[in-house]
């Protein structure tokens, strides 16, 4: 019922937008439809690729007894022909069932993601917001004060943020802020209490701040030199108006970077989650692959693919909202 009401609201929202809203809605529907074949191709490729890797989910260092192995394979239907397994997997995914995890045996893949995804999304979402706010502001200030001390500082810090890997930054932060100053907890999730979030979010955000500030700076500089900004200057408009216009123009390249970046950030980071001991989904990429946990690998692939598709759509919609020259077709 609630679902229906919400869809109703959405419809109302588009109706209010008028004709443009209807085009937008049909555009979104078309894009969602076209995502289905894309997802199918991704699932197919991933399914057969992971099977190509040598070994299986139950190959341990000390081999299991042949009888046990046979039983396990039968229970998990790994003894069927590959094409049949693929078919079985597809039909269960269509019913929303991602199957049991082969390695973390008491959990289904859906349960693992239901627990881990909120953690990863919280961290990623906060890091992304921080990156846009701080990176965007720094980049804009640097562009407005091009070739000044502030500009060199921002560009320099940007280079640092990009070059120092997070597995170096994270322990340094832990030592400085967790041990030496003892301001913040070193690690742990603690039900997402804010002090626990600060360090991992910072570590996640730093390279993104660097990228966003560099992109904003470059796009702003180009925009500030453009003819239409010269027009605003010739009309004697205050700098705030000029900055507003330049920022909107500069937003386009940044937005197109942020789409894929958001998909990557929200689906977790192995390094940060491991170092800070956080129960996110980032580690499933690695653990699933190393343990030949077929269903878990497939689950991560589907989740990441969905995120990428959604954020690409969001980017395209934002693009069209920012730039009227782009139409939905």
């Amino acid at each position: 019922m609630g679902w229906l009401v919400r869809t109703g609201h959405l419809f109302l929202f588009f109706a209010v937008l008028g004709n443009g809203g209807v085009t937008l809605l049909s555009y979104i529907l078309r894009r969602l439809l076209s995502a289905i074949p894309t997802l199918f191709v991704i699932i197919t490729i991933a399914f057969f690729l992971i099977r190509l890797a040598p070994g299986g989910p139950f190959d341990l260092e000390r081999p299991l007894e042949a009888k046990v192995m046979e039983n396990l394979n039968r229970i998990y239907k790994l003894d069927r022909p590959l094409i049949e397994q693929f078919w079985l997997y597809l039909s269960s995914v269509l019913h929303g069932d991602f199957g049991p995890s082969f390695y973390l045996r008491d959990f289904s893949v859906a349960e693992l993601f239901a627990r881990g995804l909120p953690v990863s999304m919280t961290l990623g979402g906060l890091a992304l917001s921080l990156a846009v706010l701080v990176g965007g502001t720094l980049g804009a200030i640097a562009a407005l004060r091009q070739n000044s001390g502030i500009d060199y500082l921002v560009t320099g810090l940007g280079a640092l943020g990009l070059t120092i890997p997070n597995f170096v930054v994270a322990p340094v932060f832990q030592i400085v802020f967790g041990l030496a100053l003892a301001w913040l907890p070193i690690a742990g999730w603690n039900n997402g209490s804010p002090p626990n979030l600060v360090l991992p979010v910072l570590v996640l955000a730093l390279p993104q701040i660097a990228v966003v500030s560099r992109m904003t700076r470059a796009a702003m500089i180009e925009n500030l030199r453009s003819n239409h900004i010269r027009t605003l200057r010739s009309l004697g408009l205050p700098s705030l108006t000029i900055i507003k216009h330049a920022l909107r123009g500069a937003a386009l390249p940044v937005v197109s970077y942020l789409g894929p970046a958001a998909a990557a950030l929200l689906t977790g980071s192995v390094v940060v989650e491991t170092i800070f001991g956080l129960p996110g989904v980032g580690r499933y990429f690695v653990e699933g692959a190393l343990n030949r946990d077929y269903t878990l690998v497939m689950g991560t692939v589907v989740v990441v693919a969905v995120f990428v598709l959604i954020f690409n759509l969001v980017v395209d919609i934002l693009y069209a909202i920012i730039d009227p020259r782009i139409r939905y077709d």
Binding site: R30, H228, R233, L235, D323, R325, D329
Partner: protein, 544 residues
Amino acid sequence: MAEPVLAVRNLHVRFRTGDGILHAVKGIDIDVNAGETVAIVGESGSGKSQTMMSVMGLLASNGWAEGSVKYRGDELVGLSPDKLNRYRGSKLTMIFQEPMTSLDPLYKIGDQLALPLTTHGGLSKAKARERAIELLELVRIPDPARRIDSYPHEMSGGQRQRVMIAMALANSPDVLIADEPTTALDVTVQAKILELLADLQKRLGMSIVFITHDLGIVRRFADRTYVMKRGEVVESGKTADIFATPKHPYTQMLIDAEPTGRKEPAPANAPMVLEAKDVQVVFGLKKGFLGKTGHVLRAVDGVSLSVRAGETVGVVGESGSGKSTLGRAILRLQTASGMVRFEDRNLMPLDRAGMRPLRRHLQLVFQDPFGSLSPRMTSGEIVTEGLLVHEPSISRKERDRRAAQAFEEVRLDPAWRNRFPHEFSGGQRQRIAIARAMILHPKLVVLDEPTSALDRSVQKEIVELLRDLQKAHGLAYVFISHDLAVVRALSDEIMVMKSGKVVERGTAEQIFERPKEDYTRDLIAAAFLTQRDNAEAKGQSLAS
């Protein structure tokens, strides 16, 4: 005499560049009196735009101005942007050369028009919108109440320039600076914009500073004229006096710079080089979901032409008339239907490989001397590249000799053939482009606006070069241009194109002296040919 509205005294503009300090404006004085139109003329690099950019505080960040610019006694040079904003947009306004990019593509024109109104005029948003509609009406945008919600990309270049003018006039300025406001527009659009400016000046009583390289415009619209050369004012005075008795040789050269002379007709028995019949080029504009073809554009609609050796066919028309597409179609560089015959061969059935051996006879020279030469090759390599395809057997040494020869032919120093394109001026680059075509000894050259990006004095030299080359080698030219003066100086026969069709054709004399169609008459009237005016003036003085 009343005090001038705008007084420029000993103004210097300098730029810090990689090669040291560039002294762009060298101590000039300019006065603009209330209600008058002042023209600043000069060729590219004369400093005419930078003078007015420094008045408006719009110099690039590596440039600075020294000296004095006084608006009704208030000093403007050295003011901070904030202080300058008390004058810019309300007392002094400016419109620019690039109407396509001077408006913000992301905002509706109504919102952009409202900015100077709410900022300087203190109007509320609703009042500003009302006033914006009035302004659009003032600059004669049809249906302003609807168009106010358009985005810039939904308007043509001429309409965008009208919107720019409306923005500049929003607060009834004292001085409107117009920096080549019509250079990027078609001649008939140019004529309408100029007429609008003249009319608005009469009604609103502001002064106009007109920066231009086009003496035809100066002559018609300016009360007084300043001639600039290399950062200095070399001559100034009443426009009529300057045209009647130019004192400085540079002024004389500018006045004479319009391509003159006529082409000698080709011998009557000259062989036919290229014949095209009923050429059609159709573009389908894809529209809508599932690729329904909504609209078909007939870019070239049943055009025929024939050129004999030593003959030039001029193709004139405004942007979008299909003249360039026609040029590419007869060279088989564009899918087309109809018949194209080169000497005794029908070109239409030939595929790419079949065309290749004929390509050396059919050459093309483009408009943009900056974009059409590879920046990573020496000019010698560029000129000889065609030989690698068409005469692969000749040695490197022989190629080099041929390059030197081609350079001499287009009157460039052969020693320069190891230089890169960026080391040449626009006119020299166009000579390189011509040499690249000539080295293959073509029979037909399609010249697509080869002089349009060049200053008038340089144009004249290129026109003379083209005429000499034609005479020496018996070349057939198809000369595509919107510039009637150049076409007149080069063509035997002229075709006037509009919307893909030929509206009128005839000899150069027929078209210019006795045009039959209104459209042709409009084009000629809009071109403000100074030569024609001179001739008229002479005719009148003789008659009186």
